[in-house]
Symmetry: C2
Subunit: 521 residues, 2 copies
């Protein structure tokens, strides 16, 4: 058995069943081994940002990591933006990066580069396997790291891949349970909530499923504390039957207003809230100066156990959490806007759908409109690097082939990783992509006005950096060029019809939704 | 004047006139300043790999660097693959990367990342400007680094950008001439060539223009040495009237054959030849064991001066360099193949065209067929990271708006940075893109056979990693989706007609050339 086979066997033994891949020459032995070892599904992406974004979406929905297969430093660097997003969302991932043979590295061949240096910027764990006999143990460790919601990058020199592996079989893996928060800490947090001063519980750094949401709702009801989820939760169950939980606003000004009355801020998995960007005259830290902040749990902790303990301590076991009932907006008519699009999606969304949100300024109305929609999961952009949505939808659909995936993306966002459409078509994934085509980097138009330059009105050169019409992109043509059925919607009625049809049909589908840019400030 | 204005003024004073950009919030003050300062053209890309590849192509053709404008770590990482290519080709570039305000960095906001760590892997020079008063001096140094064909990355915290710059005006720049090779070294090299033993001169690491090529041809004629250009020259003048120079073969086996008889290897700008990848049983270093290797000049040296000196020393001033006469292949008929496509391009290529080669297995016949075509420049993939071609063509066309740019790309290569088509349309660039659509990663099919796995025949899972049909990509649809006129050619006649029309029409154009994959081993 060679090193590449030893690697795949170890991954499969560790429960890693899917590899999103864009291989090259240095990974050919890994590719060859795919047919020698059972149990690994390999999904090709035409660009590495698709590969890493898909691994992110897969792990969020499967609850366990996928592997990526990347070609040397340039392949890894193409994947880095979506690895960054996964890291910020505490999503586990195992990156396998081929490198030159160990003895070839000193030659500085054209594709030689500092892969370890690159990997260190976005990974919690980086290792170069020095030879085939090390691969099983190294891969086992990578699986453990990723199982704890971290990024593991294993660099695989070509000779480690093609050489004979004497150990061969997978090394034993110890997938320890996540650490628990101490009872004392939970008691301290409960005392804080019981103090009577205005309190807010901010939750994040983990999947917020129905059960966790309901417990949080009970804690709020029993203690009087306001309960918020972080601005960009990795995965949150929403819709009818889920707890009514606020979401911390994105805009610093609005978040500061939310936090102004709060005297006790309890953090469960979420970091202390900071402004997404800095602005002259606005603070970076958003809680009020006189707010006490208690970090009860970190990402990676057993958050369910922690919240359950807190619920007991605040005596909320019998409290009634405020819950969303099924409340569907009517089907809209007339102009297609971010609001009418949101109404249509909320109205038509099938039960157990997965919404992937890479919509920047166009999706806040959708988040609001779907609060009482059919039960669904919502995945957000956790690291701020747009271009995550279409790839993430691939991974979600691979993890949950029986659930409809709806990816709502801005036109700007969609273009970073538009190659994802091809993988959707190849794998016949049940994804409906809605591109909100407003022909602007609309978020930047808003941010420009904050600079105060030229009275907030961009000059012609600046405007050409913010507007992405001219030429206008035709996403239906782009989709059909990659084998995805597509249509354009210019009115609410057209969108209703196209989206309704997409929801009752399996397979990849794109709707080019002509939505005017709206003011977001 | 704020820091952003100070930066742009300094760049313009240093001769940097073009900025390829994909900005975000942290770069908004730079964007605003574009309208306050005269002299900087800003060209938007919808993906950062387009931005950095365009800066590469611009510098190759303009003979001076462009700037890029990138959004924090994720924006930089998206640009890294094409920065890698530029670095390997010794092409200067100034990357301006916005970052959070200095005081905001400790907050670990979603977009915070280790930009310096990323930048260090692909840059010779990295600096974070600590405040607006440092920007002019830092930018001036970045210009100097890039003027010496290196990668300079200047990280610009938002508060350095928006803060008042007391220095304001551009700092003085000392753009020193490149260092010269000593007369003694040149004499030693000439003695080596005069020794009578079989010699080969390998040239690279610089632009090989007509004059340099002719001097090299004279050196070969006078000394009896064989003269080769490196496998992937950054820029080389070719066609009628240029010297007949060999190109070191890509395949290690073939290059080893070329080098086997050589006893004296003289390196001028080029590194000692190594195998592109390592293979079991093949050496990494390609010269024969008993070959003496003399490195006369490094990239960054004054190569013209060095070659001129060598020419004098070998007494070749009056030697006749073997020169290509105008020899056009006939227009092909029948099947469209890599060979017939090459014949048509060579036949129809206008004088002073620029060919950008990201064609992997499809362009070797084109290189051969254009040897006696109308005089043109040829730009190659210097760092092995495919997806360089379309962006590079943008930069070349911006640098030389009066010259036709022909970009020949593989289908796999084109998909990495397909967003480049949009910028071509927006800027109305005179580029004809020929996509050789063979529905395979054909180079990988060849590399797979070398692994020896399964008798060189990939199993079904491996095959699905090598073949990129299913679904078949329609590049004409992709182009029209981004505003570029396009057509498909299924026969030599159709290609002749479409390419001929493209050569006499200005503006962006794409031909989806249905070329079957051919064996390359």
């Amino acid at each position: 058995m060679n090193g590449a086979e030893s690697l795949i066997r170890t991954l499969v033994a560790g429960g890693v069943e899917v590899c999103f891949a864009n291989p090259g020459t240095s990974e050919m032995h890994f590719v060859a081994a795919l047919d020698e070892v059972e149990g690994m599904r390999s999904v090709l992406g035409l660009f590495e940002g698709v590969v890493s974004g898909a691994a992110d979406g897969y792990a969020r929905m499967a609850g366990k990591p996928a592997a990526t297969l990347l070609h040397l430093g340039p392949g890894f660097s193409n994947a880095m933006a979506n690895i960054h997003n996964a890291r910020k969302g505490h999503v586990g991932m195992i990156n396998i990066v081929g490198d030159h043979a160990t003895y070839h590295m000193e030659c500085d061949a054209p594709l030689a580069s500092d892969i370890e240096g690159m990997a260190a910027t976005v990974s919690q764990w980086v290792r170069t396997s020095p030879g085939p006999e090390h691969i099983a143990a190294d891969a086992a460790q990578a699986v453990q790291i990723a199982a704890h919601d971290q990024i593991a990058t294993l660099i695989l020199p070509a000779d480690a891949s093609w050489g004979e592996s004497p150990s061969g079989a997978a090394a034993a893996m110890d997938l320890a349970a996540p650490p628990r928060v101490s009872t004392e800490s939970i008691e301290r947090a409960a005392a804080m909530l019981r103090s009577g001063e205005p309190a807010l519980v901010l939750v994040g750094g983990c999947e917020i499923d129905v059960e966790l949401g309901l417990m949080l709702g009970q804690i709020g009801a029993a203690s009087g504390a306001r309960v918020c989820v972080e601005t960009f939760p990795t995965r949150i169950s929403r819709g009818a039957g889920t707890a009514r939980l606020d979401r911390l606003p994105y805009l610093a000004e609005t978040a500061i207003e939310t936090l102004r009355p709060v005297r006790n801020l309890l953090l469960i998995g979420a970091p202390a809230p900071v402004s997404f960007f800095a602005y002259p005259g606005l603070p970076s830290m958003l809680p009020a100066d006189d707010c006490r902040v208690l970090a009860l749990a970190q990402p990676g902790h057993d958050i369910h156990h922690c919240v359950q303990g807190l619920l007991m301590q605040v005596g909320g076991a019998d409290a009634a959490a405020p819950v969303h009932s099924l409340e569907l907006p009517g089907l809209p008519a007339g102009k297609l806007t971010a609001v009418s699009l949101a109404q249509a999606v909320a109205h038509l969304l099938p039960e157990r759908s997965i919404i992937v949100d890479d919509g920047a300024t166009t999706t806040p109305p959708l988040y609001a409109a779907t609060a009482g929609a059919a039960p669904h999961d919502w995945l957000t952009l956790t690291g701020g690097s747009i271009g995550f949505g279409l790839p993430c939808a691939i991974g979600a659909a691979v993890a949950k082939p029986d659930r409809k995936v709806v990816c709502v993306a801005g036109d700007g966002s969609a273009m970073y990783t538009i190659q994802a459409l091809w993988t959707m078509a190849r794998e016949e994934l049940d994804i409906t992509v809605v591109v909100c085509n407003n022909r602007k980097y609309n978020i930047l138009a808003a941010e420009f006005s904050r600079t105060g330059a030229r009275g907030g009105k961009p000059g012609p050169r600046a405007r050409s950096m913010l507007e992405i019409g001219c030429p206008d992109m035709d996403f239906a043509a782009l989709a059909s060029g990659m084998g995805v059925r597509a249509s354009r919607a210019d009115s609410a009625e057209a969108f209703n019809e196209q989206f309704a049809e997409a929801m009752v049909t399996r397979g990849p589908r794109l709707i080019d939704a002509m939505v005017p840019a709206h003011s977001v400030m």
